[in-house]
Subunit: 204 residues, 2 copies
């Protein structure tokens, strides 16, 4: 005599549950966030003020959930490292976010374009002055990437240069993803560029 | 008396197999391709010549597998539609790929930037002349996207403008993905822009 029918059903149910759990565990739901610009101006003091403001900012800008506030939130989620490859970086709000992370002890590394870093309004000088490591290309083509990697696990990439004009006036996109198949190649590219642009390797 | 132990094991095995299949069916392995530029010049005649060349192209360029050849292969995989939002489009090779798809009967729609479409070397004029639908922005900010959607299911996006300078000289990235969570927002953005830039809506 074999086991009763109830046991068969119980075993089958457990097997199904285990299989589903294993399948879920093997492939966690990846993060996908798509941000489009232009976005309307908004107040980011609640995110960027240090120490956090005791009362709401009195400025007239709305405290809305916008593509920019989402981008800043993603950046500020960094706990250990922020690796940046930004062609053109002149947006004061995004520079504040990077300064803030640097002061919190996050290891910030920034690669930028040699020709654009010197333009009027560029934030590269103040970031460097604050002690943030900056490297730039030394060849005639542009370092045209616009990506950020948060804690070596979150990739933020797209068409958006970090300029107020791009954020407020251009049609732009930013994609936020966390699956290793996307993040790893960008991490490798970052390390490659970081080493290639090491000042110790400059040729004059 | 219940069923024999063999039956219990058989039921459990079938249940596991079904659960695994369902899990796989629900979440197929998404496509992830990351392309970096610059890439070295290569011969694309085997892909772009029409009719396909009977013998290897005699040009001295290598027939290598490069980021550009991979990008062109992805574009040429279009069977029904190609939706393009390209800020700056001057690369003759990529224009050939688009012409080829148009002649094959693929529905090509192209959105571009009003200020950049008139620059020397722009391919927009010849694409339009061939009968490809082109629309452009009418505002002061840039239409700065650089993305393509193949058959409404494959998204090709990144920092790369479709210029020979970008392909051969710049540090650039292109991401190719096919999961709906990424593709759908870009499709919606394309349709939004396509309608907004409809000449019937022009204000003079």
């Amino acid at each position: 005599a074999g086991p009763p029918r109830g046991a068969v059903l119980a075993v089958a149910a457990v097997a199904v549950a285990v299989a589903v759990l294993v399948a879920k565990w093997r492939r966690p739901r990846p993060l996908r966030e798509v941000l489009f610009f232009p976005c309307r101006p908004c107040c980011l003091e609640a995110l960027l003020a240090e120490p956090p403001p005791g009362r709401p900012c009195p400025c007239p800008l709305p405290r809305a959930d916008t593509s920019l506030s989402r981008l800043v939130r993603r950046l500020l989620s960094a706990r250990r490292s922020l690796d940046l490859c930004i062609f053109s970086f002149s947006c004061p709000l995004l520079a504040r976010a990077v300064h803030l992370l640097h002061r919190r002890g996050v290891r910030v590394r920034l690669v930028t374009d040699a020709q654009y870093m010197g333009l009027r309004g560029s934030q590269i000088g103040t970031l460097r002055h604050a002690g943030i490591q900056v490297r730039h290309d030394q060849h005639s083509g542009y370092m045209h990437h616009k990506f950020a990697i948060v804690d070596r696990r979150l990739l933020i990439t797209g068409s958006l240069n970090w300029t107020t004009q791009a954020i407020q006036s251009n049609r732009e996109n930013v994609l936020v993803v966390d699956d290793a198949e996307c993040v790893k190649p960008f991490l490798d590219e970052f390390e490659r560029i970081w080493e290639e642009y090491n000042p110790a390797n400059y040729s004059f």
